[in-house]
Symmetry: C2
Subunit: 214 residues, 2 copies
């Protein structure tokens, strides 16, 4: 036996990525064997090495794509000319939407950093830091123009990110709450968390209406 009928490199590679994300999310990177992954894809283990030189290359590729996608998604969603409150709202909404839509790779990116080599770890962390910087910027702007009351911007940024990323730990889309309801709740909690006052909340609601109007 060798090449099979209907075999297609691109399809195999894509199927490998999907299956790997799912398996690693469920069992962990170390617990997933290349043979197990290959079986899921419907191929022999050796075939995977045509697309990913090593197991760790596969992991890095998943993480890298996840982070690139996250940053890209925020670049596309972020409003340029709005006030801090409205920008924070967009940030939270985009973050939740992105992560809920990518539960598997989110789990991988959050849990398997320790399986990366030094250089690759620092590459991924660099992207992560850049992303977090966007949030800190929003918070700082909000403090400066009086929209937020925050004691420590860096600490608050970490708290918010932990909170809104944690959605995927308990949230199941087919249960009691919809993504929209969950997002609305987290938006409310976030705005309170940063001490956005009522007056400010009114203002950002107005901003949002203007933004959506065009």
């Amino acid at each position: 036996m060798a090449r099979t009928v209907g075999s297609d490199g691109e399809r195999t590679q894509a199927a490998t990525r999907d299956a790997a994300a799912a398996l690693i999310a469920r069992h962990g990177y170390e617990a997933m064997s290349m043979r197990q992954l290959a079986a899921e894809v419907g191929v022999q283990a050796a075939a995977l090495y045509r697309y990913f030189p090593t197991k760790q290359d596969l992991l890095y590729s998943l993480m890298r794509d996840h982070m690139d996608g996250l940053i890209e998604s925020w670049k596309a969603a972020r409003p340029a000319a709005l006030g801090p409150a409205a920008r924070l709202e967009h940030f939270v909404a985009n973050h939740i939407a992105f992560h809920v839509a990518r539960r598997h790779s989110t789990h991988v990116s959050n849990m398997e950093l320790r399986s990366l080599s030094r250089e690759r770890l620092s590459q991924v962390l660099k992207l992560r830091t850049a992303y977090e910087k966007e949030l800190r910027r929003i918070l700082r702007d909000g403090v400066e123009d009086g929209a937020f009351r925050i004691d420590d911007v860096a600490l608050t940024a970490m708290a918010i990110i932990q909170m809104i990323t944690g959605v995927i730990v308990w949230f199941r889309p087919d249960e009691r709450l919809s993504v929209e309801e969950v997002t609305r709740n987290y938006l409310t909690m976030t705005m309170r968390l940063v001490g956005a006052n009522a007056k400010q909340e009114e203002r950002h609601v107005r901003d949002r209406a203007e933004f959506r109007a065009g």
Copy 2:
């Protein structure tokens, strides 16, 4: 070679637990080998099997102890006769103090649930649920007596737990902020998150003073 001079079962077992928590926290359960663990303890791998029948027994033991300790710690710290706001404050403070003091086993308990067998997983989850129930109770009480403004108690409880457990992801005790400062920040954020109003905040400050006085 066989029994070594000064060897002591209890000491070896305790050292094994500590080393295992540290190694699993750093490299993951699957990535830690029994030989690696034994080397850390200063013993041969076979010796570990005198104290833990299998590798998974060791993991379960760590998690079990962690959860038991957490619940025990809350039982000892929780104030009986105070209002929701004061009780919430105690909950958050105790949670952060406990987890910061036990970074390693916290990491293990949060990351390695998937390596447990079905029955053991459900045992640990049962404890976890019981603990979370305590928080939900506080939140519900606060909603009922008007101290908190909360849309969804279950969702808010998860958000708070994710947020305050996340401390150990970024916090290092030897850096910019002390545990006390960090805790104070998280307390403020939590109280705002649940919509505790100023009037209520005053009240719980008074409660706290009374609690500490008596």
